[in-house]
Symmetry: C2
Subunit: 345 residues, 2 copies
């Protein structure tokens, strides 16, 4: 394994197009992917903590040494609602940035954006973000989908005013919703179309579409259907996935995404962001970074990430939160050392 | 979701053959799969225990009520080497079999087979089983691959003498080996050919080929390559997978197997068979039964298994071993109750 795979746009993923010549040409996999590490943000915001600020900084700096190019370090949200992020400014102030790494943050409103801007240290990324589930919008934000688009318009105007680049359209709860149930494919395509229309109206050229399986309803088949349909309509857009692992489908869904050409993944070191073995029942985190890196590397897809260093980060994350985290490769180990031992034997 | 998917032998799995018409026709998935539950055997043999015999029986009887058609209940092995299986006869004697369920056992030699036969209660299934890795054969059995085939011949003769049906060829460590490293595809195909030749010599018609990722080296791409190559040569054989989850690839590998038409999977309730959070570092069990059932059901593949009952079994298994087990759906829950709540709202 480990050979680079040429990306082939029109080669069948299951080999049926050329069953006779099974080999390196059978998968429509990207040559490389970009992983957006969200562990410090997704993870520490859910921990009952308190996690010392210095230890958050320690993890961010360790992650910076792995080859990651993008790390979401904090969220600027109401500290009364998310006490684990009350020290967001201190975290951002505290870490030493590594050149070539984008440090990003999450915010949910103008005030959060102001806090992020005020740090002067973060890469600010705007996006047009809509929930696929109207019931979830109503419950969370007290807005209908039509009102969500009006809100997104104001957010977009704010980004443009502050010269914050907007390259991403984002659809949350795209695969199902605990309040609305299954989300029809056509409904998501309609939302995507309206996102592009809104961007066009402001002369904004979106480069990337992100689909979040916020409540872990997705299966690989659904991933393929949705990304396949989107790719059919928007062949030049970069596809990104945000996959929660509550029902254990995270890596399989990521694989299905890779087969549909997804090139960007949010992921959390050690599977931070929820611990099925502690109090956070059912709130499992994002797909685990080092497990995703392992899969990609073994399939010949470049990530730019040093797997062994990422495993060390996962062990550090576990040490910081003080309880087991769900990732597997941090226990099972990479295959590199085994191959090395075999070669020496 | 939940609609039945027609099996289509020559439809592209990634939708590239018909990008314009993404829909139910995009996957080469089987209509139904058979799951061979191995939790009681894989799981209890690795637990430091001791697990009371009555509790093993309790789990076997609960599993019998889920719709499973095959449960491997014990292994007949040296109790000095595997103390957790010293009560194998008592377990088999103790449970009340449910009509329509095959209860099976594992044995590694003639003595084990004798013990299994003596129970008079088990479905005895013979197989021709070879390690893909010669170094693993040498280390475990002190036999070369050539000697393994000679041994397999004697085992086959014993099965025929005892009128034990032999329908399965089995290749262990088929995707990589801690002692030998990567296993070339051609090497596995050679072993498969020799397994068929041996069967032919005795007039035995194999119906199924099983590939075990014994040491968790496989990725979905490898699964597709191997099963694709095998399916190309032996289009009528039933494909079966035994997938260990040490590096978190189990469900993704199962999905890749499904896309290549695999119709049978070994699996362990709750992911029994190793606990990455206890002393059994890196020795994770088989792919988790209820997670696999969840994925299949949500993709419209029939399993015949009641997911909620299987989740209850997973919770029971966790209670029996007394520590967390790795399965996800037992915590995340099925989607049926969420859909039901949405429908009522």
């Amino acid at each position: 394994m480990g050979q680079a795979l040429e990306r082939r746009e029109h080669t069948c993923g299951v080999g049926c197009c050329s069953t006779a010549s099974m080999g390196d040409t059978m998968a429509d996999l990207p040559k490389s992917v970009r992983i957006n590490e969200e562990g410090p943000r997704e993870g520490f915001q859910i921990e009952k903590g308190p996690i010392p600020t210095t230890r958050k900084i320690e993890l961010i700096e360790a992650l910076s040494e792995t080859g990651l190019k993008q790390i979401q370090v904090v969220s600027f949200v109401n500290p009364k609602r998310v006490p684990g992020m009350a020290d967001a400014e201190d975290v951002v102030r505290g870490f030493t940035p590594r050149p070539g790494v984008d440090y990003t943050a999450l915010w949910l409103n103008e005030k959060g954006l102001e806090r992020a801007r005020a740090t002067g240290k973060l890469t600010l990324q705007g996006k047009i973000s809509i929930y696929a589930s109207e019931k979830f919008s109503l419950k969370n934000n007290n807005r209908t989908t039509a009102q969500e688009f009006e809100y997104a318009r104001r957010v977009l105007e704010s980004y443009l005013e502050h010269r914050i680049p907007v390259e991403r359209g984002s659809v949350a709860a795209a695969f199902g919703c605990n309040y609305q149930g299954d989300i029809p494919l056509q409904g998501i395509l309609d939302i995507v179309r309206r996102i592009f229309e809104l961007a066009d109206e402001y002369g904004v050229k979106l480069k990337e579409l992100s689909f979040a399986d916020t409540m872990a309803w997705a299966t690989p088949l659904q991933i393929k259907r949705l990304l396949g349909a989107v790719r059919g309509k928007y062949p030049d857009i970069r596809l990104s996935l945000h996959l929660h692992d509550t029902r254990g489908m995270g890596i399989a869904n990521a694989y299905a995404g890779l087969e549909m050409g997804a090139e960007m993944f949010d992921a959390c070191v050690a599977g931070l962001g929820g611990c099925p073995f502690a109090a956070h029942k059912g709130a499992a985190g994002n797909v685990c970074t080092e497990d995703l890196v392992f899969m990609c590397q073994e399939m010949g897809i470049e990530t730019g990430i040093d797997l062994d260093k990422m495993i060390e980060c996962a062990q550090l994350a576990e040490d910081i939160v003080g309880h087991p985290l769900p990732g597997s490769v941090k226990l099972g180990g990479s295959l590199a050392s085994l191959r090395h031992a075999v070669a020496l034997a």
